[in-house]
């Protein structure tokens, strides 16, 4: 059973196609992330699913409803954390939670929610006396107060300091453990890597890649980088050139460090270490780096922009 299905969704603002033929599904209890640079269309997609925005074409279902026409009973089952939404400055945190909670048919206890977002002790403070990060936590708390089945989090940790982000991640993982389906948008790679079950990378209103964070990494064209030094070896000597020419990857020399960009690190490492052992030498400072999701992501959005970015730019 899918909590969310989106099929061939499009949305234009004037001549700008903000969303251009988007399709994805989210299973119940899954954390799904839309990852992309600013202006990729993430918020537009989320706001269409929330019912805040109309779509041009395509089919959208959340909890079996069409958000474009669904009413009160639909919004009763979802939680929304907008990228930007005001909180009544006249109210204390607790008053806001009690007031908004009263609109829902089912709600989490206020103290539990305060605890969940790390605002215990600040319940009686007026919202305009909170810091930006604390106010963002109130946003999260207001998204959670109605005990939602599907939670929309539009860039929930933008503007957080590192410890607040960690805390928010723990909180979101806690929600996931409770079985809440979560649609998350982010432009933080590390966030998505930690939180998401599946990721769709969105560029210019299209999905350019989709999968689990691990799949995305594995599928990527980014190559493993092997770095090492050969002291006392002339890099231009015949045997060295022959050996390096036999590798699968491409080799370059930078400040005395050899860098091998390879799609087959096992073979290349075996050739390199074998060669070094035969000669009784050492590969000094040997280092093998697999691409992070960040590298993958940069490749993806670099490629789709047709820029010179991505894996290819790294070999010399």
């Amino acid at each position: 059973m899918f909590a969310v299905t989106v099929n061939d969704l499009t949305k234009s603002y004037g001549f700008v196609k903000a969303v251009n033929g988007l399709s994805f599904t989210i299973e119940e209890g899954e954390v799904f992330a839309l990852l992309g640079p600013n202006g990729a269309g993430k918020s537009t997609v989320v706001e269409i699913l929330e019912g805040h925005r109309t779509r041009d074409t395509g089919e959208v279902r959340v909890l079996g409803r069409d958000p474009g026409t669904a009413g009160q009973e639909y919004r009763d089952r979802i939680g929304i954390v907008l990228q930007e939404a005001g909180i009544e400055r006249e109210l204390t945190v607790r008053e806001a939670l009690v007031h908004y909670g009263a609109c829902y048919s089912r709600r989490r206890p206020v103290d539990e929610v305060l605890d969940l977002v790390g605002l215990n002790g600040l319940g009686d403070r007026r919202t305009h006396r909170l810091s930006g990060g604390q106010r963002r936590r109130v946003d999260l708390a207001l998204g959670l107060i109605g005990d939602p089945e599907v939670l929309f989090l539009d860039e929930p940790t933008t503007g957080f300091d590192p410890s607040a982000r960690r805390h928010a991640w723990e909180m979101i993982e806690g929600l996931k453990a409770l079985g809440t389906t979560i649609l998350l948008t982010s432009h933080y790679m590390d966030e998505v890597q930690v939180l998401a079950d599946r990721v769709a990378v969105l560029v210019e209103g299209r999905i350019v890649s989709e999968g689990t964070p691990a799949e995305l990494r594995g599928r990527a064209e980014s190559e493993t980088m092997i770095r090492f030094r050969f002291p006392e070896v002339d890099p231009s000597s015949g045997p060295v050139v022959d050996m390096l020419g036999g590798l699968v990857g491409r080799t370059s020399l930078r400040n005395g460090v050899f860098e091998v960009c390879t799609v087959d690190p096992t073979t290349d490492l075996s050739l390199l270490t074998g060669w070094a052992l035969e000669r009784g030498g050492q590969l000094e400072g040997l280092e093998v780096t697999t691409p992070t999701l960040e590298d993958v992501y940069l490749d993806l959005i670099g490629d789709s922009h047709g820029a010179a970015g991505g894996a290819g730019s790294r070999d010399v």
Binding site: H52, Q72, D76, E84, A85, H99, C103, S105
Partner: protein, 275 residues
Amino acid sequence: MSDRTSPSAVALLFRQVGYQNRLFIRTPIAAMFTLVFPLIFLVLFGAIFEGVDLAPGEEVSPAQFYAPGLAVFAAVSATYTNVGIGVAIYRDEGVLKRIRGTPLPRWIYMGGVVGSGVAIAAGGAVVMLAVGFLVYGIEMDADRILPALVTFVVGVATFSLLGLALAAVAPSGQSAPALANATLLPVAFVSNVFISVRNEPPAWLDLLGDIFPLKAFSDAFFAAFDPFEEASAYKPWLLLWMGVWALAGAMVAVRKFRWEPSTGAGGGGGRRGRR
């Protein structure tokens, strides 16, 4: 899920009224303009008309004429001005967008705004009239209390709806105060609120006042206090005219209402310019 039964509409409506009242009370500047401003007028008028005989040959306090008008002014400030500005500011700040994402029915939000406007208006009018009765010796026949109440309810409901219409057409929370005052104050001067133009004003002034609903409100309300009024204190035609404006206000509010800040006005910029 089967365990979801929505809260009752009546309970939600009452809660919304309480919520709006709380927002109002905690916005001192709004409370100041709505409640204290008309009171200052009342005291000033009391000093200006001290000893002036507005009704020769009758034992009538001058306040008998201007206190009801200022009570109407307080009521209109609490509804038209306050609702119009408040809603536009909350829209700018993104509060309305947040509310739209909750299961709260939209009409209950609107109902809460209107209900709270009516309650605050009643508070303002009661204060004005209480000062009028206790300090300036105005009088009222007991059998005119009900007509006054009926007129009052129709009037404040009308001006609450007009306030929602004002919020709907105001481009931003910053322009709403100017729009509210620019539309209310000139009209107030031809509507027997501050100054009575009852005694043979120029025809065009009379007509101008007749067009807008404020004169209908103040004249119908004053009828309950008018020492020379022989006929019934009910003014059905004036109430009807307010009803026409109420309907127009409701239509504009429903058709033009926006829940999202207009582009560029978002992100909490609206609070700077409350009046």
